[in-house]
Symmetry: C2
């Protein structure tokens, strides 16, 4: 990693999986090179944005020739740390948690929910969509054993902070928060919120025509 | 609505459902007034942010007294257009679509998936989590009949654009896009993307310490 490289911007980072997805389709079609223009068209982006985003992958394209598909895939996966499978835990096997355990969309990015945790004795010891459900009291032990650093949080919102505290105490370093509740966390633990209600609010406001400038939100 | 009011900012809009959620808890506890400080604490925000966000609700608080809980709820719901139930359609009854049909978290905000659509003859005519599944060819007719303007899109990504075209032709005005694919839409149709892979990318980058300034992302 080049120290002089600028810090990545959020919209660029969030677009990288879309590139990865398209590039893998091209790879599977035996296409070896890809131009900025082709990627821009497939993703509905301006070529200048594509060129800027792909700087993160550290794989400069050649004018008139484009990028090597395989090098780009490798560059993006390296940048994101997605070369290896990332094991994650899911906390809270309710309605949403069960849905997430059955969702196969994360596997493309090598995120694998390896176990789930709940405090309901009726669920502990069971298997949901092939994943074992442990007691929340086993979280620290299992995190150390399986070297898991990321928790998907899908408990009812009134238990969100208590569950987050438990996750922090158990030594995990990141929470992907599917609850409605923002979490208070120590600075060394990162949080990513899936704010579906916030998305609905944004959609409602866009639909009503009370718009703000939003061109970067892709 | 005051015409001189500035256009709402995206982070404020996305936070409104969290206020709504907290305010309803207070209402259910018979609390009639709430201070900026109390809301700020419950949501983990700075009081100045809370004051700014709640300007959208058009319900000014009184110094030393705070806000009326009921007025704030009404103001936020008015602003978002969430006073009445919003009927929505779901397109694509696969793994994720089925999960979304069973997810009860949208009801708090009066979003109700009233029907689902698919092109698989084995699914058409069935009921999933109590919701009827129609053929995608019936979309225009049902949208007119049930006055639905919003579609939740959860088809496999290779069919995303074709399904989006069908949604647009059927007269719907907004797509909540759960696929990995950005959609090309006419300007009068709004799109809201749930970019879960993008969230995972952001989480990975935060975890690796390659951070950008991100204080507004709540």
């Amino acid at each position: 990693m080049n120290d002089s490289r600028k810090l990545p911007r959020l919209p660029s980072v969030k677009r990288l999986p879309s590139y990865l997805h398209e590039l893998k389709l091209l790879r599977d079609n035996q296409q070896q090179m890809v131009s900025t223009t082709q990627l821009a068209q497939r993703l509905g982006l301006e070529p200048i944005i594509v060129r800027k985003d792909l700087e993160l992958a550290g794989s400069p394209g050649s004018p008139g020739v484009g990028y090597s598909v395989l090098s780009l895939i490798e560059g993006i996966e390296n940048f994101l740390g997605w070369n290896d499978e990332t094991p994650v835990f899911l906390i809270g096997v309710g309605n949403l948690g069960t849905a997430l355990l059955g969702y196969k969309g994360f596997i493309e990015y090598r995120f694998n929910i390896v176990a789930a945790f709940d405090n309901d004795p009726a669920k502990v010891g069971s298997t949901v969509h092939g994943k074992p459900v442990f007691s929340i009291d086993e979280l620290a032990e299992k995190a150390a054993e399986l070297q898991v650093r990321i928790a998907v949080l899908s408990v009812p919102c009134e238990f969100a902070q208590a569950a987050a505290d438990k996750i922090v105490q158990s030594g995990l370093k990141a929470i992907w928060n599917f609850t409605n509740t923002p979490l208070a966390l120590p600075p060394e633990v990162v949080q990513q919120r899936v704010n579906m209600a916030g998305d609905l609010a944004e959609l409602s406001v866009k639909l009503s025509g009370k718009l703000y400038n939003n061109s970067e939100d892709i």
